[in-house]
Amino acid sequence: MAIPVTTPAKLWLHRAGANARFQAGIVRAAVDWTVALYIVIPALVYASIQYIAWWRHPPASFALVPAAALSGLFFLLSLRGSGYRFFVLEPDQLFVRANRRWTRRMLALGLLYSAALQTLAAAGLAGLLLPLLRAMPVSAGLQLRLVGAGWALWLVAGLARYLLQLRLAAGWRLWLAQAGLALASALATIAATLLAVYAPATGYPAALVALAGAWLLFARARLRQQGAFLREAELEQRAKLRLAGLLLNGFAAAPRPQSRRTPLVFRRSQTLFRYRSPISGLSEVLLKSFLRSFTMLRLYAMFTSAAAIAVCAVSFAPVRTAIWLGCAFLLSLWMKAYCKEVAAAPFLALLPWRDRTRIGALRKCTHLLMLPGFLVVSAAFGYAVGGWIGAAVFAAAGFAIAYFIAAVATIWY
């Protein structure tokens, strides 16, 4: 039954409930019964058995893990994102925002909710680490102090990160500020760890009080923040879609706001081909789109590195060759799929492309885009087979193979 929204707390609860249903829907969409039955449930059963086994007989290597890794783990978690949710929505500008009391109350509830959620997550993480904690050659008190320090730093760094994101637009200033925050968090983690070890009765409680004070100060700044409403709504939307982005990563490109005024590469709209034709025009769109996408470039570099390492690491020649040629096919199909997706963009749909233009551009771009990566993999393959001479020979062969495979992969649209 719907809750009648007559107070800010009820409105906040309504939104928190809607968010929980949305996230649950995403998980349901990603983990259907088949996935649950064949992957998730067996994985959970295996993990439980392993957990109990480690609890009973912890591996000797657990004793080698330094205690400082506990606070370090929370520091790494704080780098992942702010973790704060306030459920600010864009339509709030219509009426909710006009009532300062409602707005502040909802923000305060958001702060408490986020802190509670992070506390639960920290407790859950500590629970998961229990077999490791049991095996560590340090006292339970010290472990508790380290987990406590890590948790407190996580809360404070997360809120500080949120405030930075609120006050600075996406760009190099925000990047720099976040790098500064990460450095400060790292130093604070080291200091808190040292205090937990060497000054548990005096310095450590003082550090916790200082962190609580910092959190209260940041919370006050958050509640008093004015003039950043649209940014708040944007951050909320991004946080809402974070899980979806994580689950769909690799299957769909997440929508990204284009905040730059001019592109980083080809800043003066330089043309890539001297000869102008419909095919070169479409090819140019496809190539520039790829070269201006940091996500695609990162994935491409990761794929190429993994394939190059694989062809060097595998010693059995038939498998190595299969990986090399398989890499060519995978790269060509991936680049083709990317180009097809870009070619279906609404702007391009406005223009009267012919089928032969689409296929011509697809072939050209699939070859050009797969070429650098495949040359690297071919050179690595050649190096593994016959040293530097092999690298040069197979890089040259890779050029021709890439052309042939791109042509085969684009026979059909």
Binding site: P257, R261, P346, L350
Partner: protein, 232 residues
């Protein structure tokens, strides 16, 4: 000379559930035809059906030339976020196979007219709604087609942009191009259009000159606004 003859028996977004039906009209050289109707009457659906952008369409489109030569300006600007303004123009020029010197001259002229020269190498993500609309208009005027199909062109345009758009439209009509303009800004339509196609509840309610609409509505001195409310 008839540049375009449209005959839509029925069209819609789902099979067996037509959003529009029995719509037939023509567009002659140099003519500006206003496609008018209430919100949701079927104006944009008619345009999308004409352009083959909806799956379920029964009817025919007859163009004057061998190949359709038209430019479409959508109601909501569609841009490619990864391309600069100039790259949008380059892409369109490549598709329309424009001669390079002609393209450069025409593009520079349109950028100047719409006061977009300074942002030619900017990404459209940094543009306002009006600037994106201007980009759509520049793309449409770039290759000087036979037919312009313009959906709600005044939304988001500033007065200077509107004036520039109307002047370019006038020049294009003098060249011989026909314009089909969907709008619900009726006072502007009354001043500009030669004829009107009135769509109501997904079907053709009336068409003709203002005098024809006056006769059909029984309002001999009525404005387009009066006739519209009588007929729609």
């Amino acid at each position: 000379m008839n540049l375009l003859h449209v005959r839509i028996e029925e069209a819609g977004y789902e099979a067996h559930s037509p959003a529009i039906r029995d719509i037939e009209f023509g567009l002659r050289q140099g003519e500006l035809v206003g496609l008018i109707g209430h919100n949701g009457a079927g104006k944009s659906t008619t345009i999308k059906a004409m352009l083959g952008m909806i799956r379920h369409m029964r009817g025919s489109m007859q163009w004057a030339g061998e190949r359709p030569s038209y430019a479409y300006v959508p109601e909501h600007p569609v841009v490619y976020d990864d391309l600069t303004l100039w790259e949008h123009l380059e892409t369109a020029a490549a598709v329309y196979e424009l001669e390079r010197p002609m393209f450069i001259r025409r593009a520079e002229e349109l950028l100047r007219q719409f006061r977009m020269e300074d942002v030619r190498h900017h990404l459209p993500g940094s543009f306002s709604k009006g600037m994106r609309q201007k980009l759509m208009l520049i793309l449409a005027f770039l290759h000087q087609p036979d037919v312009y199909i313009v959906d709600e062109p005044f939304v988001g345009l500033d007065p200077r942009g509107t004036k520039q758009f109307l002047e370019l439209l006038r020049a294009e009509r003098e060249r011989g191009a026909g314009v089909l303009m969907s709008t619900h800004v009726l006072d502007a339509a009354e001043r500009m259009c030669d004829r009107f196609v009135l769509i109501a509840d997904g079907t053709l309610a009336a068409q003709g000159t203002l005098d024809d609409l006056r006769a059909a509505s029984g309002l001999p001195d009525g404005t387009l606004f009066d006739c519209f409310h009588e007929l729609a």
